[in-house]
């Protein structure tokens, strides 16, 4: 299975994960500062800044895109409960 490397910059941890993993599946386990509310892509609590490797995440769904717009999310920000890793290297930190 293809792998990817996700770095949670605020806690200094890089995790090797299978492609298809969502950030939410990993961030809490490493103690990263990304925090969650609804965990269903609605509340925007888990807004996350993608410092690099934005192209290595699956594009946002229509729902996620709308929530990002409603909350005036800056460019290269994603919802950690939705964003799915495709491969390569990605560096993230709490928004």
């Amino acid at each position: 299975m293809p792998k990817a490397q996700v770095t949670f910059q605020d806690v200094g941890v890089t995790v090797t994960v299978p492609a298809g993993t969502r950030l939410i599946e990993v961030s809490e386990k490493v103690g990263a500062g990304i925090t969650y509310g609804c965990r269903e892509g609605e509340c925007c609590t888990c807004l996350t800044k993608v410092i690099s490797g934005h192209e290595n995440l699956a594009p946002p769904s229509v729902l996620e895109d709308q929530v990002l717009k409603d909350n005036f999310a800056p460019r290269h920000h994603r919802l950690a409960c939705q964003a799915q890793v495709l491969g390569g290297e990605i560096v993230v930190k709490p928004a």
């Binding site: 490397q5 770095t7 941890v13 890089t14 090797t16 993993t21 990993v26 990263a32 500062g33 409603d70």
Partner: protein
């Protein structure tokens, strides 16, 4: 009749003393809200010793009327009666909801039926909530944000988006020509007095501070952001959604909000990071773990560590300490498969402050099952702390190695707090 019932009857009689007419608060501006003197508990979390008010207002301009906020649904009759005393439904051009909680939006569906031509204005952050309140109803609303305006001919409403005071949707509306800030829940309080104005009602200082402490304090960073918008306004009157209308020295209440939003404690640690360690211990085992953790953190330097036995103090000052701290470690023994009540009492009180993003950790001694540490970790995650280091458990009396693990936990917390942690590379399988 009991004393409580007698007092409630007196309060209701006082409420009835206000006629069913709107009350002028400025030229062409009326209060059309409702008094609820019998309420004794609000939103479950607040005591209301003399009830509350649901304040709504009408602004008349040369080109139409605006209604600002409504009331709790079961007070609709009074609201419509007062509204009809100062305006016709076909005159209403704008309905502004500063906050969609049901105590302010309860009469909205009926108002929209009676004034179908009116345009509804809500914060752009309020849209998901409006859908949640008015299921299936087709709504024509205008989302607004800071800087947006509504013209009523010779009068202008100017919106200020003030999110998280105390919901994401909250906003304030400023009537420029009269200097009136319709502030929603900001500067409000649960205090019911038919005399209505702050220079005429009874002493409501306690209610004002109590309301801030329970409703606004968890969002004090957002309060400070909102004050940046509010303080430059040429305020002549604040018209909040609950409690007295603040016509006498309204700026005093703005100043008080800034004071209340400052740190409650002077930070003796100055520039240092702070770690507060709380524990409960029946036989000294969890205490020994707490002491080892504290010593480990202290050894790394750059962190001011404080150690507290939860049983030796009251919850409220501990909450103040945690609000100001950078990191929090909690030690609980496991008794009957659970963390102990003093620990839960403290943890359940932390919703009153903002602890999001602080570093957290858990530890504790146990006899045979040891669930407490995991439960406390889960609760800390639920409070939106980050837990970069796994906690430590010890069966009964901690061994030298287990105390060393506690010490290492403290060292790691100190490194994370001071940004000195080295980057680790791990496989997801190791996280299971």
């Amino acid at each position: 009749m009991g004393i409580t019932k007698a007092m409630t009857a007196m309060a209701q009689a006082a409420a009835a003393a206000i006629t069913e007419h709107g009350v002028a608060i400025a030229p062409g501006v009326h209060w059309i809200g409702a008094l609820d003197p019998g309420l004794r508990s609000f939103d479950i979390i607040l005591k209301t010793a003399n009830g509350t008010t649901y304040n709504s207002y009408v602004v008349r301009g040369s080109a139409g009327v605006a209604v600002i906020d409504t009331v709790k649904e079961n007070f609709s009759e009074t609201f419509f009666s007062r509204l009809e005393s100062v305006a016709r439904y076909d005159e209403i051009r704008a309905i502004v909801l500063n906050h969609l909680e049901p105590d302010h939006s309860g009469a909205l569906p009926e108002l929209l039926k009676r004034a179908p031509q009116a345009q509804l204005y809500i914060s752009s952050r309020a849209q998901p909530m409006l859908k949640g309140l008015l299921h299936g109803e087709r709504l024509n609303y205008m989302p607004v944000t800071t800087g947006d305006r509504v013209e009523l001919g010779d009068r202008t409403l100017h919106f200020l988006q003030t999110p998280y005071l105390h919901w994401p949707d909250t906003q304030c509306t400023f009537l420029e020509e009269e200097g009136i800030l319709f502030s929603g829940d900001v500067f409000g309080c649960h205090f019911c007095d038919a005399r209505l104005f702050n220079d005429a009602v009874g002493d409501f200082r306690f209610s004002f501070e109590y309301y801030y402490a329970h409703i606004m304090r968890p969002f004090r960073a957002h309060v400070l952001e909102a004050l940046e918008q509010i303080e430059p306004l040429p305020l002549k009157l604040i018209a909040p959604a609950h409690g007295p209308v603040l016509r006498d020295a309204p700026e005093r209440y703005v100043v008080r909000y800034r004071e209340l939003s400052a740190s409650k404690l002077k930070n003796e640690a100055a520039g240092e990071k702070t770690l507060v360690v709380f524990y409960v211990s029946a036989y000294g085992s969890t205490r020994a773990m707490a002491e080892a953790l504290a010593a480990g953190a202290e050894d790394k330097g750059g962190v001011r560590v404080s150690l507290y036995d939860i049983e030796g103090g009251e919850v409220a000052p501990f909450v103040d300490l945690i609000e100001e701290a950078d990191a929090l470690a909690i030690g609980s023994p496991t008794i009957n498969g659970d963390a102990v009540k003093p620990v839960w009492d403290l943890l359940s009180s932390l919703t009153a402050v903002n602890v999001r993003g602080k570093i957290g950790a858990a530890f504790g001694s146990y006899g045979w099952t040891g669930e407490a540490m995991q439960m406390v970790e889960d609760r800390l995650r639920g409070l939106k702390l980050r837990l970069p280091v796994k906690g430590v458990r010890a069966r009964l009396i901690p061994t030298t190695e287990e105390l060393a693990s506690c010490r290492a936990l403290g060292e790691q917390l100190a490194l994370h707090l001071t940004g000195r942690v080295e980057n680790r590379i791990i496989d997801m399988a190791e996280l299971a």
